[in-house]
Symmetry: C2
Subunit: 186 residues, 2 copies
Amino acid sequence: MPRAGLSPAAVVDVALGVVDEQGPDSLTLSAVAARTGVAAPSLYKHVRNIGELRSLVARRVLEEMTDALGEAIMGRSGDEAVAALMQAWRRYAVNHPHRYAAMPPAPLSDPALAEAGGKLMTAALAVLRGCGLEGEAAVHAARCLRAAMHGFVVLEVAGGFGLPEDLDTTYRLLQKTMIDGLRQGA
Amino acid sequence: MPRAGLSPAAVVDVALGVVDEQGPDSLTLSAVAARTGVAAPSLYKHVRNIGELRSLVARRVLEEMTDALGEAIMGRSGDEAVAALMQAWRRYAVNHPHRYAAMPPAPLSDPALAEAGGKLMTAALAVLRGCGLEGEAAVHAARCLRAAMHGFVVLEVAGGFGLPEDLDTTYRLLQKTMIDGLRQGA
DNA sequence: CCAAAAAGCTATTCACATTAGCTTTCTGTG
DNA sequence: CACAGAAAGCTAATGTGAATAGCTTTTTGG
């Protein structure tokens, strides 16, 4: 019988499929193995363990999201860039809810994840510089922005907002609030 | 040999100990059984399954946190109450990081959890009424507030804020931003 | 063409959740 | 007080998933 032709990247591809369809908690080596037509232990030839696979998935997702955000803010500046950033953040999470949930909120001792996160931070700080925020003030502003965006989409994706009121309206209010807040800080 | 004298509540007590010391992911029936001096399967006499145990734990934590927030806002109103609410929210999470992480962001089909969450929502809406917000506007404001608080403490507790800048300062900025935002909406 | 690396596989171990079925301890009622 | 039945516990067993060991097959480079 011919080989499956796997590689770490291919395993991550399949893992992303599992995550998309069944959520991050269902990402198991058996599930990935079943989709690749390979026995579960064979996957250890490509990833060290399930933790590494999760890390690799998280990294891919973070990079993908960073790209999407980068595109969204490209060519914009000031409040408009902040609004675009917030919009793109939420759109990514809503379009890929399981992928978003597959990203840990912190790099947890994974240098590659930390680096990917650093790129996102750099992009955010660039946007804030366009709002007149630099140095320490920009760091505090970026944290607030991230907290607001992350908090909102985590709750939205998990179904944490029970009431029927329109979520787009809520998010618009959050955008306005944050943008006004940034203006204050500048 | 005498009985262990367990009960659903006692099992939850022990489970909270496990959560506090080893985090929500380490909450297993074996861990709880070991602490109670009982064999793991015996726990099924008190809880239906591990999922129910997690729900019961989450409910206890949510109620405990709701109490803490209720105390914090008691006797205050307006911006001061909002500031106290935000302060107490963060304090609870920082003092009990694993318990905070043990709460799912949504009731996920658990009516008891939903009810506990409803009480918290009621308290929040009461605070906002004191800021001149009612009806739909209050719902949108409450969501924004929750998103900001939850997002911040999730990231703080997980170690998601890498840089060395002072987190108290960041949170003060977030408080100010949200309070200004609420004033706008009113 | 062949040696060795790479990629698979089967068998096995361990942890945890869960079920089944048996035994022991309480408890309340005659 | 006795004892029947409920409640609470136990052991044994199953299923799933992670992980390791050691063997076999496929590639590939010289």
